[in-house]
């Protein structure tokens, strides 16, 4: 039986756009995250991929309650946390931690490593100073740093080492859930591999659950058990990692997969990428119906621009929000454009 750690229902986050200096009035809203629902099971890694501006980071910040939700419900270990006050949130903050993208900006340059890693322990009153110091040194060792570096400042470390400090800080209070927001995208490949392997090892050792946000589909494939593809504030597709990469059903997922350069000239040059036209639209004024329809090779007038597609089952634990899911994979652009039955299966 699967054990649900986090349930997200109809999560919506709109940022108001206002005009006027004295009498401010809201003239529009950036629909960063729009009515998304999913669950995260205990001990798994849920990968979240999407291009810039698709709402993946906003979603992470909403889950962490760093941003207030416009609407929707977050259930963490059976408790509704979407409307808790700051004080009520405090004990829950111990259970979910975050690792950030930029290892330079996310560590206070004026504080020593010992303080940075141990701060959460102090805030949550976990023990005496000596006990905290012991715990911090133990954590540094766990993430592969020298415990004697306790008194150093962040600038004395390389990018990869800083990311290890960020991981040690997240682990300090034994959280259940860690939200990783692009944790390796600022790192070189050789260091990236070290951090990815470390995250995998820690998950095994401490039974952690990850929400792993990245734009790099290769990285997400390696680390995730399940993958969620986002486009313009909506979920396009969710499936097990191997399943999604072998049998994508949403045309956007297909286009993404075919756009990733493959580090093997024999494989890479044999395929014909499905190159999408244009750019991601503005989230202030997203397209009607399916948000992907203006760029979609499978666009059918009167269907895709008329109503928002619901997530439908397209395989075992595999849902896609598309009226005309892909039949097979890989396919060419011409095949993707061919829709056999232009009335949607409901």
């Amino acid at each position: 039986m699967v054990d649900e750690l986090l349930r997200v229902e109809n999560l919506t986050k709109h940022f108001p756009v206002s005009r006027g200096i004295v009498f401010q009035k809201q003239v529009a809203a950036v629909k960063a995250v729009d009515d998304i629902s999913f669950t995260v099971n205990r001990g798994e890694t849920l990968g979240v991929v999407g291009e810039s501006g698709c709402g993946k980071s906003t979603m992470a910040r909403c889950i962490m309650r760093l941003l207030d939700l416009t609407s929707g419900t977050l259930t963490f270990e059976g408790q509704n946390i979407s409307r808790l006050s700051r004080n009520e949130m405090r004990p829950i903050r111990r259970e979910m931690m975050m690792i950030f993208q930029d290892p330079y900006a996310s560590l206070n340059p004026r504080k020593r490593v010992g303080f940075i890693v141990g701060e959460a322990l102090v805030v949550h009153n976990t023990g005496t100073d000596a006990a905290i110091k012991r715990r911090v040194q133990e954590l540094l060792e766990v993430v592969g740093l020298n415990p004697e570096h306790y008194n150093r400042f962040p600038h004395e470390f390389s990018g990869g080492q800083r990311q290890r400090i960020g991981i040690a800080r997240a682990l300090a209070v034994n959280p259940k859930l860690i939200v990783c927001d692009e944790p390796v995208s600022a790192l070189d490949v050789s260091v990236q591999a070290q951090i990815l392997n470390l995250l995998k090892d820690l998950q095994k050792e401490f039974g952690l659950t990850y929400i792993f946000i990245a734009h790099d589909l290769n990285v997400v494939r390696y680390i995730s058990d399940r993958v969620m593809v986002m486009y313009l504030g909506k979920i396009a597709e969710v499936a097990g990692s191997a399943e999604l990469y072998a049998r994508p059903k949403h045309p956007y997922t297909g286009a993404l997969l075919s756009a990733v350069p493959i580090p093997d000239p024999r494989l890479g040059r044999a395929r014909k990428p499905i190159v999408l036209e244009g750019d991601v639209p503005n989230p202030i004024n997203p397209p009607d119906g399916c948000r992907f329809h203006p760029r979609c090779p499978r666009f059918q007038e009167g269907v895709c621009d008329a109503s928002i597609p619901e997530a439908v089952d397209v395989g075992t634990d595999h849902t896609a929000s598309c009226f005309f899911p892909l039949g097979h994979w890989p396919m060419t652009l011409e095949e993707m454009q061919r829709v056999d039955n232009p009335t949607p299966a409901s």
Binding site: G160, V189, A193, N197, Y245, L256, V260, P263, D264, R269
Partner: protein, 341 residues
């Protein structure tokens, strides 16, 4: 085909307060007309400085360069500033990683392209503007005649990179140097830009030097590849050879450390440690502190870039014997092998 660019033993040293940084330390390669050379390496490996040196764009105050960079037989390192100005933007063009900072935010993009044309071509302003609009059309900017009057901030990242490419190609250069042109872009946009560069190369026969950290990009578009590590070349080979039979331990590490779409990988290969400081690089082979195959000679002697005994086009700088290399190359490839459909 004729050789367009020949770089021989290029060295660029920067004088800093902490000492001399040898940012490029003995780099040689050649590029034929109409071909694409990929230069891959991690940050600080010297790939960008190599190209800035060829273009004469390093600060004269702090940088000293040695070696030769022959462009159609003319040594760019010896060329006068005036001569370099004639060449840059005309015979050799460059595009950069960040299209926002490389466009002037207070000038309309049409005017910025026109400036480059008027500098090198004896044409009227009207003709220059017509050419600028044609170039924008060529790179796929819709309603180019109207968009030419827009400012850079009115374009998205991918569109800005298209504008940069239009600007670079407007004078039909024979060499385009692209420094991480797609790194700041999303994958679908990256695919658009790579496709565009490819088709422009096909139409105009422009040779390209593509600097990137992404082995995937190199595999897609390069004809030849240079792998750089700590200011030197680890390996240089035609693209097929590099991916089918890599001969340097650093290349093995890089290939093994890549997560891949097309394969189930249980655990990535890790290269331990971090790249060395170029202020005080290790003695001997630069890779020796991180190399799992290290032996005594590696710590004493600096390996030269030499041809593999089986292939004169495949150069590498490692002391390991050829039999071990063949075996280890096979082992590396097997660790992420997939069936070719």
């Amino acid at each position: 085909m004729a050789t367009l660019l020949e770089v021989e033993d290029l060295r660029t040293y920067f004088t800093t307060d902490d000492g001399i940084v040898k940012a490029v330390d003995g780099v040689s390669f050649t590029l034929k007309e109409g071909k694409t050379l990929g230069i891959v390496g991690e940050s600080g490996s010297g790939k960008s400085v190599t190209c800035l040196t060829i273009m004469g764009l390093n600060s004269k105050k702090s940088a000293t360069s040695k070696g030769r960079a022959l462009f159609r037989g003319e040594d760019l390192l010896q060329a006068s500033n005036q001569r370099l100005r004639e060449i840059r933007g005309n015979d050799i063009a460059m595009i950069f990683q960040d299209p926002m900072t490389s466009l002037n935010p207070v000038h309309r993009i049409g005017d910025q392209i026109v400036e480059g044309i008027l500098l090198h071509r004896d044409v009227s302003k009207k003709e220059a503007r017509r050419r600028a609009i044609d170039a924008l059309k060529e790179v796929g900017i819709p309603r180019a005649d109207r968009r030419a009057d827009d400012y850079p901030h009115q374009f998205s990242g991918g569109m800005r990179q298209r504008v940069m490419i239009a600007m670079a190609l407007v004078n039909e250069p024979s060499l385009l140097i692209a420094d991480e042109p797609t790194t700041a872009l999303d994958v679908t946009t990256q695919a658009q830009i790579l496709e565009l560069m490819h088709s422009l190369q096909r139409d105009y026969g422009t040779a390209i030097v593509m600097i990137t950290h992404d082995l995937g990009v190199v595999a897609e578009i390069a004809d030849d590849v240079v792998v750089m590590y700590a200011a030197r070349i680890a390996e240089r080979a035609p693209v097929g050879k590099l991916f089918e039979e890599p001969l340097h331990p650093y290349t093995w590490g890089l290939l093994g450390s890549l997560p891949r779409l097309e394969a189930d990988i249980d655990r990535l290969v890790q290269i331990p440690g971090t790249p060395p400081s170029l202020l005080s690089p290790p003695r001997g082979c630069r890779f020796n502190p991180r190399c799992p195959y290290v032996f005594d000679r590696c710590k004493e002697e600096m390996p030269e870039l030499v041809a593999s005994p089986r292939d004169s086009e495949h150069l590498q700088s490692c002391f390991l014997d050829d039999v071990t290399k063949q075996r280890e190359a096979e082992r590396t490839l097997a660790s992420f092998a997939t069936e070719v459909p």
